[in-house]
């Protein structure tokens, strides 16, 4: 099969697409998670909570597909990354799954009975379903930055030598909290454009102010820890960017501080961390000026900047190994075959625009600010 794109280029494109998927997930389902995690704090009465729930209710199902697609795309394009991270972080992934399974059910079933205790229980399920994934995703990314304790044998079978508790270090906790702050901010930012002025929105603004400051502080703190800590890795020897996807054919050494190398080599990359902070500041301006769209745009920019920072800092590494640097996964040694990357790219080029198209249509079809009155009158609302 002749392919118009070479292997190296395709690997680079799929690295970018991996980022696009993660950012797509964070920008869309991220605010659903944020709103769910904020639910007990922004809504005091049943009607107030229903206002927040129904703001995201028609969309979360579609948004969650970003995560499912993310799983599928990592499987298809980066099978090593899929296999090693999902089995290595086994119990953490289970926690995410369990809370993400609770979430849809809570959305759908919460308002099927009028019983206050029933509804309260589901509200807590929603809270867990929002908070836990946000936290664990952040911790997982923190672990990717720090490196994970795995090694590959000559059959490329992986053994993982860590534990669930081993995933939680000071740095990964900072990453986890940053993720919670970022998504809470984004959830509050979404409420600012989706629901009417009132007590729910006022409380969301209050929380957003704290979350914006927290996300700036945690982001900078994380950056300092990356610079001063023992994280980082460098490729050594000749790097064959079009070679077979076999990590054992490349060589790496642990190099503390190396995650800042890229910024020296390519100063344009500074734009990502700058956006990570500028977005939060913009959100703060939107909150103070009661300009919902400015607020939401700010939280979206902050989310994009923060996630991009992670990817750009680590490039070309995707998942380094702390116990066997040779096993580390990079853009050049962990992808699927040339053919598969090409086919998947063609499929993505055809279908991603279609997906974005109908998602936009759906948002438009269901646009308009929700009011407490809608919650009282519509028979379809949760």
């Amino acid at each position: 099969m002749h392919m118009p794109l070479d292997y190296e280029t395709l690997r680079l494109i799929w690295w970018v697409l991996l980022g696009v998927l993660l950012i797509g997930f964070a920008l869309t389902d991220g605010y659903d998670l944020g709103v769910a995690a904020l639910l007990p704090f922004v809504g005091r009465t049943d009607e107030e909570r229903r206002l927040a729930i129904n703001a995201v209710a028609p969309h979360w199902e579609g948004h969650q597909v970003w995560l499912i697609l993310g799983g599928g795309a990592i499987f298809a394009a980066w099978p090593f990354v899929y296999a090693i991270s999902f089995s290595g972080f086994y119990l953490a992934i289970f926690l995410v799954l369990a809370s993400l399974i609770l979430r849809p059910v809570a959305f759908k079933y919460r308002s099927k009975h009028t019983d206050a205790a029933w509804r309260n229980r589901w509200d807590w399920a929603l809270f867990v379903g929002g908070l836990v994934p946000a936290l664990v995703f952040g911790v997982a990314v923190g672990n990717a930055i720090e490196g994970a304790p795995f090694r590959l044998d000559s059959d490329l079978r992986m053994t993982y030598e860590g534990s669930l508790l081993g995933l939680f270090t000071p740095f990964t906790l900072v990453a986890g909290l940053l993720s919670v702050a970022m998504l809470a901010l984004h959830g509050a930012g979404f409420l600012a454009v989706k629901i009417e002025e009132g007590p729910v929105l006022a409380r969301a603004r209050g929380i957003a102010r704290v979350a914006a400051l927290a996300s700036i502080v945690l982001f900078i703190l994380g950056g300092v820890m990356v610079a001063k800590g023992h994280m980082g890795m460098r490729l050594t020897g000749v790097v064959d960017t079009s070679g077979p996807s076999n990590p054992l054919m490349s060589a790496s050494v642990s190099a503390p501080g190396a995650w800042l190398d890229n910024y020296g080599a390519h100063p344009w990359m500074w734009i990502a961390p700058v956006l990570g902070i500028a977005g939060s500041l913009m959100a703060l301006a939107g909150i103070s000026g009661r300009r919902g769209w400015l607020n939401f745009a700010g939280t979206s920019i902050a989310t994009t900047g923060i996630i991009s920072t992670v990817g750009l800092s680590m490039f070309p590494y995707i998942l380094p190994s702390t116990i066997d640097p040779r096993s580390s996964l990079t853009v050049w040694n962990a992808s699927s075959s040339h053919v598969t990357l090409f086919i998947m790219l063609v499929v993505t080029i055809i279908f991603l625009p279609i997906v974005l198209g109908y998602t936009a249509w759906v948002i438009k079809a269901l646009s308009g600010r929700l009011t407490i009155k809608d919650v009282r009158t519509s028979p379809d609302f949760y």
Binding site: A57, P58, H59, W60, E61, G62, Q64, V65, I68, L69, G71, G72, I74, F75, A76, A77, P79, F80, Y82, A83, I84, F86, S87, Y90, I93, F94, L97, A98, L100, I101, L102, R103, P104, V105, K108, Y109, S154, R157, M158, P244, S245, N246, S336, S337, V339, T340, I343, M344, V347, F351, L352, V355, Y358, T359, V362, A365, L366, S378, P379, F381
Partner: protein, 521 residues
Amino acid sequence: MDMAVIELSRLQFALTALYHFLFVPLTLGLSFMLVIMESIYVITKRPIWRVITRFWGKLFGINFVLGVATGLTMEFEFGMNWAYYAHYVGDIFGAPLAIEGLMAFFLEATMVGVMFFGWDKLGRVQHLLVTFLVALGTNLSALWILIANGWMQNPVGATFNPDTMRMEVSNFGDVLFNPVAQAKFVHTVSAGYVCAATFVMGVSAYYLLRGKWTNVARRSMMVASAFGLAASLSVVVLGDESGYTLTDNQKMKLAAIEAMWKTEEAPAAITVFGLPDIQARTTHFAVEVPYVMGLIGTRSLTGKIDGIEDLVLRADSRIRSGVIAYDAVQKLKVNRNDVAARAVFEEHKRDIGYALLLKRYVSDPRQATNEQIMKAAADTIPNVPVLFFLFRIMAGIGFLFIAYFAAAFWCASACGFRRNWFLRLATFMLPLPWIAIEFGWMVAEIGRQPWSVDGVLPTFLGASSLTVPQVWATIIGFTALYGSLAVIEVRLMLASIRKGPVEHAPDEVAHEGPFAPLPAE
């Protein structure tokens, strides 16, 4: 390898997959029935059809949400519990999963929100289009998942690459148009349609028996009986189709289902009943119908169907050839440019998976004794008695459904669903599609053992390097979570059925006249 981790991982996968598939068939079928009902509404503009559509839509929603929630587990579990599998075949297997997300799941999940929340915001035709897109999305979703599963049953279009120690795509078109996948797709979605039709029939019969919502119930039954008759014919006829393709690719599964120990003279007889005996390799008390198996399996009177014993002999020789390929791969690991080793590898590479069967007994297949090779060859026989009975129950239920929907179709015109015996029968039939469907999956997956990918990767090699307590923790976690969700879902479903289409029956419909319950008959 820790065999306990492997067995527990299999148990967990089976539990989560079978649970997931309690919700999927109803989604597959009910979504299309909603399209039919809503089309009638759009064409006739009679409000009763809007009430009908929204009522079944509500039940659809309760079911749909659990299908989505438990589907997430499936997408992650290959990496969590089957990491070596994920590495070994991800290059092929990952693609249909990703395409499923992109092409199908995005569509259904995005549209389902509008379907529920958009009744007052969209025009009639627009809303029908949305409902149709939900149905299209769910069914396309099944297509891609079955392309993935079909590849595990019949791994076409891929070869082993010693540089990356995994299978890689050689012809994506073959993966896409895999005949096993096509047959499985049609069989599986048809089964989903039967399931949904039976569900609508059963719930409607419950209303008619109680004289409640009779206008909704009778109309729903009309739709369901026609839909169910077509689907039940399709599921049996096209189930046969997947038996037919089996003979090319999965002869062992077919032989095991039939408990056919020795190759018979063509055309082979079908064993309707019997007691398969693994030790003696024979079937006691076999009741046979001559010619039928040969006809189904080969579509001819002359084609032979291989028996289990001959297939074991073939496995034996493929293992020996696979060991040669395995040896060549070890040489290539040391020196990628070893021309002689690469030539040997090319000649024997299609059997390399068979050498891996030996890893159960010896870490280096090249050291295997003759006895170990014979044991590994015998391992290729799946669990014959289990397959034999599961298949017969599934097929029996399949034929029963044809008779049932033929009766329903007749009843629709002859008695307008006024016979109590038929209505009672309809409620008793309710659980049967689920039993047949779950058994069908068991036949497909138990029949593939000892392979996770037929002839390519043995199941026991696919597992992750986990510990027993880790897997137990998630099995207990999933069981507790899924168990309580099942209780909640069934209760909600029953409560919604008991309540009936109240909130979507506006006054003008209730006062239309015929909407009021008919007197008991």
